[in-house]
Structure formats: C-alpha cells, structure tokens
C-alpha cells in the first residue's frame, strides 16, 4: 500500500469512528464518564490551590517571619514516606489492572488489597501529621498559644481545607477500592471496572503530588 493510500485509509477510519453508531474513542461510556468527572474534579482542586496561592501571595511573609512551612511538619520522616507509599499504591493498582485484564483473579484481588493498605497507611500518617500540627497550636482559624500572633491565620486554614478535601478523596477512594476488592474476590469485577477504579486512584495520587509540593516543600 502506498503511503498516500495509507493516509487516506487512516482518514477514513477516523471519520467512521466519529460517524455515529460507535464510541469515537473505542471506550465504554463508564470510562469516558470517569475521565470527564476527573477533569471536572481537577478544576475543583485547581480552584482551591489558586485560593491558596492568592492567600500566600497577598500575605507577604508565609507562614511567618523567618519560618518555613516545612518547619511544622515531619517532611523527611512522615510526609515524604507517606507520599512514597501513595505512589507505590499507584504501582500496585497498575499491577491489579494488568492482572484483571489477563483474567488473573488471585493477583487482582491481592494487589487491590495492597492498594487499599497503601491508602490506609497514607490516611493514618496524614492523621498523625494533623495531630502534630494541632499540638503545635494550629487551628482552623489560626494559631493559638505562643506562636499565635506570629503566624498567618490562613496558613493552617488553607492546610486543613486542602489536605482535608484531598483526604476525603482518598477516603472515598479506599471505600471504592474495598468494594472493588470484594467484588473481584467473588469474581464479579470486570477488568474494565477495575481499570476505572484505577483511573480515580491515580488521579488522587497525582493531585497529592501537587499538594505535597505546594503546601509542604516550597
């Protein structure tokens, strides 16, 4: 087949994919819908992070004179490892999806369960960080105690709202994964539905990378 003919052939197949009667992306509707939902959810997080940026830029000093955000958290001992765990759970999720596609139910269930464990470990460590932060005097409305007047009140507020909103996503993700694990162990989860669960989980991980960078590191 000559190259020009090939191009024309290709053009004809794309035209027919959009020509009605079938999915133009060759995906089931549920997967497309999950992608669209994630796009929409990304805008919610983007708006929250924009709010955070606005607070921080207009504040001048952040979180207080001579202080760094990282001073308030265990970045290397807790937050770093929990980020690592969350990224690893994305990897176990990918293995589960691959196994589901091959029809390997044992591996699917095992790695879905590992993903759930990763999510739970992340939530536990996040709770530990929150506790430590609150012990230092952080409240939703601002710092109390000796640091009270020295720290921007919006520093803890943005922290709690944004990590809380993300934590809510992780929690619902863990529940979603648990349901999928139970379904898979009974042989009732299709490879497609496992993959869709995976899309959501990867998204939650991806958002965390941004939050970790913006709230803890810089």
């Amino acid at each position: 087949m000559s190259e020009a003919l090939q191009v024309r052939e290709q053009h004809r197949t794309t035209a027919s994919a959009w020509g009605g009667g079938e999915s133009p992306f060759a995906v089931p509707w549920a997967k497309l819908m999950m992608w669209l939902f994630l796009l929409s959810d990304a805008f919610t997080f983007a708006a929250l992070l924009t709010g955070y940026a606005a607070m921080r830029i207009t504040a001048g000093v952040w979180p207080g004179a001579g202080m760094k955000a990282a001073d308030f958290f265990h970045v290397t001992t807790v937050v770093g490892p929990m980020t690592f765990i969350l990224i690893c759970s994305s990897a176990t999720m990918a293995v589960a999806v691959g196994a589901a596609r091959r029809g390997d139910h044992r591996t699917t269930v095992r790695f879905l369960a590992l993903t759930v464990l990763g999510g739970l470990a992340f939530l536990g460590m996040q709770a530990y960080e929150w506790t430590g932060f609150i012990r230092e005097g952080a409240r939703l409305t601002g710092f109390v105690g000796e640091l009270g007047g020295k720290i921007q009140p919006m520093f803890p507020a943005t922290f709690f709202v944004i990590t809380g909103f993300h934590g809510g996503h992780v929690t619902s993700g863990v529940i979603y994964l648990l349901v999928k694990t139970i379904q898979a162990s009974r042989g009732r989860a299709s490879a497609e539905s496992v993959e869709i669960t995976g899309l959501y989980w990867h998204f939650v991980d991806l958002v965390w990378v941004f939050i970790f960078t913006l709230l803890y590191l810089i």
């Binding site: 997080f45 607070m55 409305t141």
Partner: protein, 602 residues
C-alpha cells in the same frame, strides 16, 4: 404501531407508578420533571420580581393586604429593606440557577438529546435520575431560607463577601446565606451529574451515520454547554466550600483584616474578598453562556424549520458556538473593572470581551441569512425565535458598550447593566425556552398547543419585555443604582419616578401575560388536539419517533442517519424537506448528503 408494541415488550415489564413517573430513569420523564419544576420556580422568581417593582414604583407606599400576608417582610404593609434585598437576591438566584439552567439543560437537554441523536436513553440513566432528585431538596433548602431568622440571603445572587461571609453583616447574612450556599452546592452536583451524562451520551450514543458535523445545532449547543458546566461549576463549588468555612469554621478566605461591622472590629484577618469575585466570575461568565448556547442552538433549528430553508453557514454556526465557549473562560474580569484591577489587565479583559462579539455576530448574520427571502411560517414557536433574535441583538449591543472599562466604570452597578443582561441573557433565554416549548410540546405530550393563545402570549410578552427593560437603560444612564431600595431619597433620581412607575406597570402586564402561557400549556396538556408524528414537517430525528415517544424511544431498530439536519426545500423533490433518517432517494440533482456549508440552490 407494531414496532412500538415491540419496544414496550423489549422493556419487558410494566413499571409501577413510582418507577414510571416519580423515580423514573427514562430521560423523557426526567426532562419533563425538570421542566415542570422549573416552571414552578419561574412563577416564584417572577413573583419576587413583582415585589421589586412594587417597591421601586411606589417606594414607601403601604399595601395593607400584602402586609397581612407577609407580616415580617412587610410590617404594616410597608416593605422593609431586608425583604427587598432578599427579593432581589432570590429573584436572581432562582431565575439563573433554578429556572434557566435547569430548564434548558435539565429540561430540554434531557428530553431532546437522546431523541435527536437517535439513542434509547442517556448513557447512565440512574445518574440522570439522581441529578433530578438533587433539585427538589435544593429548592426546599432555598425556600426554607425565607423563614429563618433574618430571612433569606440579601447579598445579591453573586454573594460577594464580606456581606455573604460574616453572619452579622446584614439581616440576610445569617442562616439564610448558609442555606443559600448549601442549596447551591446541591444544585451544582445535579448539574455535574447531568453534564457527565450529556457529554458521554452525545459522544458515544449517536445513531449510525450521525457524525458530529451532521448534528442539529440544538445538540451542539447542549453539548458545548455541558462542557462549560463541567469545567466552570467545580470552581464555584470550591469557592462555596471556602465561603462555608469562613461562615461556619471561622476561617478568613474572603475576609480581610481590619474590617468593622457596626464599628466593632471582626475577628478575621488574612483573607481577600477579591478572590471570591475572581472565582465566582470564573464560573459566572461561562454560566451566562450556559444560559445562551442551548437557546442559540434551539432557535437555529426552529428558524430553519419555519423558514423552510437550510441553516446558513452550518460549519460557522458550530465553530462560533465552540469559539464563544472557549472565549467565555477568558472574560470574567469584565465584571470586576471597578473592584481594583490593574489597567493593563482591564484592557486585556476588554479585548477578549470585544472579541467574543465576533462569533456572536457571525451567528446573528447567519440567522438573518437563513431568513433571507424565505417563505416564513409564522407559528408561535417561530415568533418567539424571531423575538430571541431581536432581544439578543438589543442586549448584545449594550454588551459592547459595557465591555469598555472607561464606560463601565460609570455604568457599573446601575440599571443600565440590569437592562443589558435582562435583554441579552434573561429574556433571550426565556424566549428561546418558549419557542422550544411551542415547538417540542407535540413531541413531549402528543398534543398540540393553541396557536391563537400562543400569538397573544408572544405579542404581549414581546411588547412587555421592551416596555419593561428598555427604559431601564435610561434610568441607569441617569445613575440609578441597580439594587437600591429607596431611589427617592436621592435628588438626582427623583425625576425618574414616573419612569419607574411605567416600568413597574409594564412588568406587571408582562407577568400577567405569562398566565396565558400557563393556561395554554396545561389546557393543551389535557384538551389539545392529538399531535401527529411530525406536525412541523421537520427533518431531525426526534420527529421519527411517535408523539409522545414510547419508553426506549425507538422500535426494534435504531434509526440510521443519511444526511445533515437541515435538508429543507431540496431541489427537484416533491416534499420541501428530507428527514435525516429517510433513505437516500434523491431523484435528480446532486446529492446533498452531509453537506455542512448550508448553501442551497435557488
């Protein structure tokens, strides 16, 4: 009707009353539920507008009868300020979110999308049902706010902080504002569920042969609108979350330091009220196009059908819808010229705003070209579609005036702005909804509406709209502020009082005229003559299904589409239209299949 019976049989089972009419997953029932609920809210929103006009026409006047009905809002029959501001806020909130958005996307969108693309239902019917059933709780919460202490929210439909952030700021800033936020958050979820369904359905479930460039413009309008809602509403959701935290959790996202309420300093610092304005208008401006893109699509179809001519410049019509949607994300700053903005930024927003006039003008001229030398059928639907054109142009022109910062600084928050958006967005969108109702009523309910009453309704509404809103330009020009409670206390506004009385009387007539429509609607619902399958001799797919379409819409086989949606008056044919699904049977002349350029041989 054997194939209909077969489709019913395919459904397999008789549904109970609850599953069939209340918790239905059928897109047609959900669409009608959305439409009827929106109609109820429209009457309510209109009633609130009457309160506004009552106060502005006769400020300080006592209305003893109303005083007995609303003892707290109108003690001794005299409307108090909190009640007035709550009316203004709720009129805007209800009309924009609870009437037009729900009616156009929830009502027309749900009913028309699967029918016009040749699908049996939405991609995810259960989510569709869930979308509708978030709407009544949102309404109940919103209406409950009228009865809590302090009354309903009074900070305007834009809910600018600090009025909306601090419970002590104004009477309506108490529990009423919190309920407003919760109600809106529920409705945002409903829109999200709806949009997910609309986009997926249009992309995935089009009938064989129905390529994107053969879609009727109604579907293009609804499709692009769903994308806009999907991307814009989450930003409002995030802003609403932050505002709720400010109100309930005591944070200061939107409250600056050093604010005094009743000369008492508030215990907040570190926030920025401008952030709310940015986030709100990032939603708010696309929201305006959520209200106008479906009407643009709907009237394109109605104009072409009644002009018996193909829509002019189909590809440009699609392109301009997409262009308007894209640009709508870049113009939010033109609502904030007076909020403190760098002049360079103001110029940038002015430029993008003026650019959006180009695709809008393309649409307008294409509509006019569609009408050019046509033998127009003046049905009620067509009259309202033509009315849309008139209102859209009138309101669009003042949009160009307001886009320019030096002019807008003078006009900001005056009645000139009220006149502008009531023409271009509110009235235009409601005209398209009327046009759509007269046009698709036979398909929805299997009966025809009364044309004679429809024409009375049109002329009274058309004249009523111009009489109500046109003088407002002048009031704004003279400096009358848009949410003012007592204009008579300013010397420079006292001369406007006769004008305000005129506007108020015109508004009452306009409101009363809508009862002609309601009477026509409900009477036709039960007594109207039976509608045939295709009473308007239209080309699009929904007219292939029986009126009203059965559950799952089509018989055994789905329709197959042969051509684009505008094959009106094809040359050398007996009929003056060729349905999209009719088998290719062009006797002579060239085939017009799939042509999207709207050219026609005459």
């Amino acid at each position: 009707m054997a194939h209909v019976a077969h489709a019913e049989a395919q459904a397999g089972h008789e549904l109970s009353f609850w599953r069939k009419y209340i918790f239905s997953q059928d897109h047609k029932v959900i669409g009608i539920q959305y439409a009827l609920t929106s109609m109820f809210m429209a009457v309510l929103g209109g009633l609130l507008a009457m309160f506004i006009r009552l106060q502005l026409g006769w400020p300080g006047q006592s209305w003893p009868l109303l005083g007995r009905l609303f003892p707290s809002g109108m003690p001794d029959g005299q409307m108090n300020q909190a009640f007035y501001l709550a009316s203004v806020t709720m009129h805007g909130t209800i009309m924009i979110f609870f009437v037009l958005t729900t009616l156009l996307t929830g009502g027309f969108g749900n009913f028309l999308i699967p029918l016009m693309i040749g699908a049996r239902d939405m991609a995810f019917p259960f989510l569709n049902m869930l979308s509708y059933w978030l709407y009544p709780p949102a309404i109940i919460i919103l209406l409950a706010s009228f009865f809590v202490s302090g009354g309903a929210a009074g900070g305007g439909w834009t809910a600018y902080p600090p009025l909306s952030a601090l419970p002590g700021a104004a009477p309506g800033s108490g529990l009423g504002q919190t309920l407003w936020l919760i109600s809106l958050a529920l409705l945002i979820l409903a829109f999200l569920f709806g949009s997910l369904n609309y986009i997926t359905t249009i992309l995935q479930l089009r009938a064989r042969g129905l390529s994107m460039m053969r879609l009727p413009l109604t579907i293009w309008g609804l499709f692009v609108t769903a994308i806009l809602s999907l991307l814009a509403f989450p930003v409002l959701l995030a802003a609403a979350i932050m505002l709720l935290f400010d109100r309930i959790g005591g944070t200061s996202f939107f409250v600056p330091a050093g604010l005094l309420i009743g000369s008492v300093p508030v215990d907040h610092r570190g926030g920025n009220p401008l952030l709310w304005q940015h986030l709100f208008w990032f939603l708010g401006h696309p929201e305006v196009y959520v209200l106008i893109l479906p009407p643009m699509g709907m009237i394109s179809d109605i104009l072409a059908n009644n002009a018996r001519k193909p829509i002019f410049g189909y590809r440009f019509m699609v392109g301009s819808i997409v262009a308007i949607a894209f640009l709508s994300f870049l113009v939010w700053g033109h609502h904030m010229y007076t909020s403190g903005m760098a002049p360079v930024l103001g110029t940038a927003f002015m430029t993008t705003t003026l650019v959006i006039a180009v695709p809008s003008a393309i649409k307008t001229f294409n509509w006019l070209a569609t009408l050019w030398r046509a033998k127009i059928r003046f049905t009620s639907a067509m009259l309202f579609a033509l009315g849309f054109l008139s209102l859209f142009v009138t309101g669009g022109l003042t949009g160009i005036v307001l886009a320019q910062p030096p002019v807008d600084i003078y006009f900001q928050d005056t009645f000139f702005v009220v006149a502008h958006f009531h023409f271009v967005m509110a009235s235009a969108a409601i005209f398209a909804s009327f046009a759509g109702t007269y046009y698709w009523f036979p398909k929805m309910f299997g009966r025809m509406m009364n044309e004679r009453l429809g024409k009375w309704h049109f002329w009274l509404t058309f004249v009523g709209i111009y009489a109500t809103f046109f003088p407002m330009h002048y009031a704004g020009f003279m400096g009358m502020m848009r949410r003012i409670y007592s204009p008579q206390i300013y010397a420079h506004l006292q001369g406007l009082q006769p004008l305000n009385v005129f506007v108020s009387i015109a508004a009452f007539v306009l409101f009363a005229a809508q009862f002609i429509f309601l009477y026509n609607f409900f009477r036709s619902l039960f007594r109207g003559p039976q509608a045939e399958r295709n009473p308007w001799r239209a080309t699009t797919l929904e007219w292939e299904a029986p009126s009203p379409p059965p559950h799952l819409n089509w018989g055994e086989t789905l329709p197959t589409v042969q051509r684009w949606a505008y094959d009106y008056s094809p040359p050398d044919m007996a009929e003056d239209f060729q349905p999209q699904a009719a088998p290719a049977a062009v006797p002579t002349g060239r085939s017009r299949e799939g042509r999207g350029d709207g050219g026609h041989a005459r």
